[in-house]
Every structure is written in C-alpha cells, then in structure tokens.
C-alpha cells in the first residue's frame, strides 16, 4: 500500500483495512489519490474498533478536507469530540474554515447542529450563517440550519429585521421570504390581525417594486390564508396591477398597463369565490392565450373545474 498519507501521529501499529469494492471486476471503481486511499485504509481500521484517540480525530480532519461528503467520517468525528471532551469552540472555528472552503457541502450543517446543541451556546452562529449566505444567498441547508437554531435557542427577535435586509438585497430571494413566514408564524403562538395587516402591507410594497415577483405574491397570499382573510381583500390592489376594468359581466385588461400576471390570476380566484364564473373564465382564457401561455393546460383545467363545481352546487 502506498504510504502517501502523512500525519503528526504514528500509524505503525495499525493494520490498514483495504477497500473491498466487491470482487475482481466491481462497478464504479474510483482511481483514488494515494493519500486518500491510505487514509481511508486507516479509517476503516480505527472505525471498526471504534478507537477513541487524538490521532483518529486528526485523521477525520484530514479526510474531511479530502472528501467533505464522507458522512461516516463526520459522524465518527462527532463521537470522538465528545468522548475526548474536546473544546467545542475550537471545533466550531474549524467548521467555519471547512465551510468557507467547501461552500456547497451540506454534511457540515448536521455536524454543526450536533456540536452547537451540546455546546449550548449560539454566540458564533449568526455571524457564520451570515458569511455563508453571502456566498450563496439561497443555500437551502444554511437556511434550514438557521431555522433549527432559532427554535433551539429561542432567537425569534432577530429574524424579521434579518429577512428585511435579505429581501432588500434581492426582493426575489424566495429563501428569505420563506424564512420570514417562519419568523412570523413558526413559533406557533396566536398571531394578531394587526400583524397580518403589517405583513400584507410589507408584501404589497415588495410587489409594487417588482410586480411579477412570485415570491412576494406567494407570501401575500400565504399570510392572507393564515389570517383567515377573504381573498377579495386584495381586489383593489389586483385591479390596479392587472390594469383591469370590469363592466357588468366582462373583464377588460389594458395590455399596455398590466404589470402583474399574478394579479390577474388572483382576480380570477376572487370572481370564482363570488360565483362570477363567466368573469373568472374570461380571465383564465386571457392567461391561457396571452399572458401565461405555457400554463395553458392549467388555466383550462381551472376553468373546467370551476364550471363543473358550479354546476354541481348550483
């Protein structure tokens, strides 16, 4: 076996366990670098006897830098840190280095959760998350981790201003919008109608900046539903954004002034909720033929479903 793996510790007493990919002609073999091959040989040997030692810990550090997706190494590392009673703050600093070197890696987040839970102190967390979201503002695992953190340490107060800032940077950052919904409703306490009003206003202001932005619309309608408000509350707002004028039974859209397709869609739902089926159908036809044609089948389905439902209950 090539001895390319060098560490501060002696491995002379260890008989490395070679990787057995399964017989003479295995599928999907990888031509590893020598140091990785040697290091994983030691890993299999020490893991098989669950060795608890500083050299095993060092081995996990080295392997993580060679392959940060190696989840067995991360799990073993966590067991070692606790068994050896290591300084967990040092570990958090080390994870920060790994995170910045491998920003797409997600194994670090489960590991960090395990460590921070034990460390029982979130002091380093928000700044680190901030750095990672600067690298990728929609990193799914970072946002999920942030939710865990907020729940675990009851950090709800910082969250609304934080999502303000993120949404200010990019009003189309859906992860930030989702986090805002979590920040408002995730605690599971009763929400007053004035909070619902505030959040609806917040979403409406964002929509006015970019009226085609699905993230803000989804938020607006999500808040509305959560607040048990009727969808017709948004009618005036939608009329303006869709440049709609209605006469008794027909809907007219000014194609030069319409700013939002979603406003049009919401109007159709409002008409349908009032059983103004013909008007709703006109809007769905407009969406299918002119404003959102790739979803033609969906608009036609809505149309058919509503007229069926209307017939059934009429």
């Amino acid at each position: 076996m090539p001895l390319a793996y060098i560490s501060d510790y002696s491995w002379e007493d260890i008989v490395p366990i070679p990787q057995d990919d399964g017989g003479e002609n295995p599928l999907a073999p990888i031509a590893y670098q020598d140091d990785y091959k040697t290091a994983t040989g030691y890993l299999r040997a020490v893991m098989s006897v669950e060795e608890v030692s500083d050299r095993a810990l060092q081995l996990t550090s080295d392997l993580i830098f060679m392959n940060p997706a190696h989840y067995s190494v991360w799990a073993y590392r966590a067991r070692l840190l606790f068994a050896l009673k290591k300084d967990l703050e040092q570990e958090l600093i080390w994870i920060e280095e790994v995170g910045q070197q491998f920003p797409k890696n997600y194994q670090i987040w489960n590991h960090r959760e395990v460590i921070v839970d034990k460390y029982d102190n979130p002091i380093r967390e928000l700044p680190f998350i901030e750095v990672m979201l600067e690298l990728d503002s929609k990193n799914y695992h970072v946002w999920s981790y942030r939710q865990w953190l907020v729940r675990r340490f009851d950090l709800w107060v910082t969250e609304l201003p934080y999502t303000d800032r993120m949404i200010e940077n990019d009003v189309r950052n859906n992860s930030a919008w989702n986090h805002r919904f979590f920040a408002v409703f995730g605690k599971g306490v009763d929400i007053s109608q004035s909070v619902i009003d505030d959040e609806m206003d917040y979403a409406k202001r964002a929509i006015l900046k970019a009226p085609q932005n699905e993230s803000a619309w989804n938020y607006l309608l999500g808040v509305l539903k959560r607040g048990k408000r009727p969808i017709s509350e948004t009618e005036q707002f939608c009329n303006e954004l869709a440049a709609v004028t209605t006469t008794e039974r027909s809907v007219d859209v000014d194609i030069d002034r319409i700013a939002s397709t979603r406003a049009l869609e919401v109007l159709a739902d409002i008409y349908a909720s009032r059983r103004e089926v013909e008007m709703a159908a006109q809007v769905w036809t407009l969406l299918a033929e002119k404003y959102d044609p790739i979803r033609e089948n969906y608009w036609k389905f809505k149309k058919a479903q509503t007229s069926r439902g209307f017939m059934a209950t009429a």
Partner: protein, 418 residues
Amino acid sequence: MTTELNTVHNEELPVVDSLITESSTTQDDVARMCAGLILDGQLAVLQHQLHADFLRIPMSFQLPPNYTGLDASKPWLMYWPLHALEILDPDNQTNDILSRIGPSIMACLNELEGAFGGGNGQTAHLAATYASLNTLAISRDEQLWSQIDRERLYKWLMSVKLPDGGFSMHVGGEEDVRAVYCALASAALLNIITPELMEGTAEWISRCQTYEGGIGGAPGNEAHGGYAFCGLAALCILGNPVEMIPKYLDVDSFVHWLSARQYQPEGGFSGRTNKLVDGCYSWWVGGCWSILEGALAWITSKDVLWSKADLQKYILFCCQSPRGGLRDKPGKSSDFYHSCYVLSGLSEVQHRYSFRPKMRDSKAGEWSFMWTSELESPDIVIIDEQNVVGPLNPVHVLPAGVGERMHDFYAALGTLEL
C-alpha cells in the same frame, strides 16, 4: 429534422419587470442561453448511442480521482447509470453488467448495522440503502435477493425512525423528507412495511407542506421540487394514493405551486420559486405530475395540467451534452445524476401513468406497485420514433416491472415475523 409539432412556447412572456436583482440577472442569462439553442418548429434527436456510451463509463473504466467526492455515494454511482441505461433502451442492453451488481452492492453492506452504506466499510445510510436496493432490483437476481437479511434491515430502519414520525438519514444524521421516502421505498421493495414503521409519518409529511403549496425538506423549510417528490411518493407507499394525497396535502395549492415550476421560454422546471430551471427537476417535478395525474380522480384521463411538449423541448435541445450524457442546463457538464433524472423526466413526458389498484383491500407496502403506463397521445406530445425511451415505476423511479418483481419475490416468501 422537422415533424409536425405540438405548440411549444419559445417567445418571451409579454409582461416583464424592470427592477434588476441578482435573481433576475441569472434568470435572464439562462432564458437567453436556452432560447438560443431551441429551434422553432423542430424536434431535436435524442442521441441514444452517445448517452449510452457515457452511461457505461462506470461499468467499463476506473472513474478519475475527481470522483472522490462521490466516494460516499457508491450505490448511487451504480443506480443512476444503470437505471438510465434501461430507460434509454428497454430491451435491456445491461445484461453483461447485471452479474457484477451483486458483489459491488454487497460490498457496501454494513454487516454490523444490517443496512447499506455509501461504500465499503461506511456507516449505514438511508439514501445509500435506497440506491442499493434499487440497484439490486435492476439485477433481477433472486439468488442475490435471498441473501438480504430483511429482519436486520427492518430493525435498522426502526433505529433511524424518530418519535415525531420522520426518519434520520443515519444514526445521528439529519432528519428530512428524503429520509422518509428512502426508508419507505426500501421497506416496500423488501415487503417489510409494518404499522410501527409508518406510525405518524403521513402526518409528518403533511407538516412539510408550506404556504407556497410545495413541500420542504422538514417542517418550516422552503418548498423544493426534490422534497416535493419524496413527500408525494412516500404518501403513495403509505396507503392508497387516491385517499392519501387529498387527506395529507392541500391538493389545490400543491398543484398551483407545481404549475408555477415550468418556465417560458425555457420549457424546463425550476425546483423553487425564483430559482433557475434545472434538468433534474424534469423528474422531481415531472414525477409529481405523473403521480397526481395517475392517482387523482378529479383529473380525467385526458387532462394534462402542464406542457409536456415544452419539457420535451427543454430536454432535447438544452439538456443533451455534446460529449454524451444529460445535464442541468446549457453550459454545465453532464453527469450520472442528471442523466438519470433527465431521462426519467423524458420517460414521464412520453408516458401516461395510471394507478390501478388490484383489489380494494390491498395491504400496506403493495400500493406502490400498482402503476401501469401507456404511450402518451400525439395530441399531447409528438414522440419521434428515434426519441422513445421506456416506461418506469413513478413511485420507485425504477424501470417498469423491475421493482414489482422484487416485491413479488419477497411477498411469495410469506410474512416475516417483525
């Protein structure tokens, strides 16, 4: 070559925002790049041979050192290309490879824990177990199947089941809806589903549906195409999908969110609101459509709620790499993961799936093996003869008939005392 085509939507949308942000800049770039590759009035040809050659790389050569990042995903490095090869050529060009599956997958078994890991000597892991069992299903090797210690695997599954109804990926690992799907799909193949294994799980999935209508990785997390598929498919294993889906999901808002995933002019699907199209969502999002259309009575047999012709356009024009294999989007390299899920997406474009329960009182663990398929009508999508790929099981993401055969094998052995 030109064939009479169904309507596709290559033009820009009429209403566009003027505010520029990071999201809109990247979106505009991708839309422009895709539009540049899509030819009006034409169908591109699926490069069968080129893709097959690419997919055979892991069976013919040592993968280069830069694959070390997938060293903890060895069963996936077998499942992705093998499944894709079979979809590409249903007449089974993989026979020469099937006999090598046994030793290669069994090398990933963690004998101490009783389930599969990401490679030899690695910790047992739900995703690795799912990919291993799917690969074993593709082997069609009963001798091999009889070597699986199902009782121990069941015990391991119960050891990663959490009190809230979810599952963690491995002992001490992360809890998410992928883990739920992988656990249930594995248990269904092995016919070891029990009430204890399922307890609280449908309710947990239900909690993952977000205000947008899609499903997130865990309660509170952002709606995401991959997790949406995992949650929906898991419900189809837990019980009769006709009852389970409306019971545990708000179907209207789920359908609304799914519908918003298809972008014009690209034709492909994005995985989240305001993110870019990516070929892999051809399956994750498209698979959700297959399941919904096949299982829910309120969609009559003629309805397709999205544009199959546009997705086929995106796959054929934008996802084929000139060096072979399928990719995320133009400008990206092909890989085995994308090849698997883009081709699975093409399969679902070309087929119509139906849920056909054999009997009213089917048992838990049988529901996911009652799917049939037929070729899609040319009114919906023109399928050029050169572009045809095979059908699959839309819950297990396996070539049609393969998972069914493995499940039947274990069912015939009688009930395990678990």
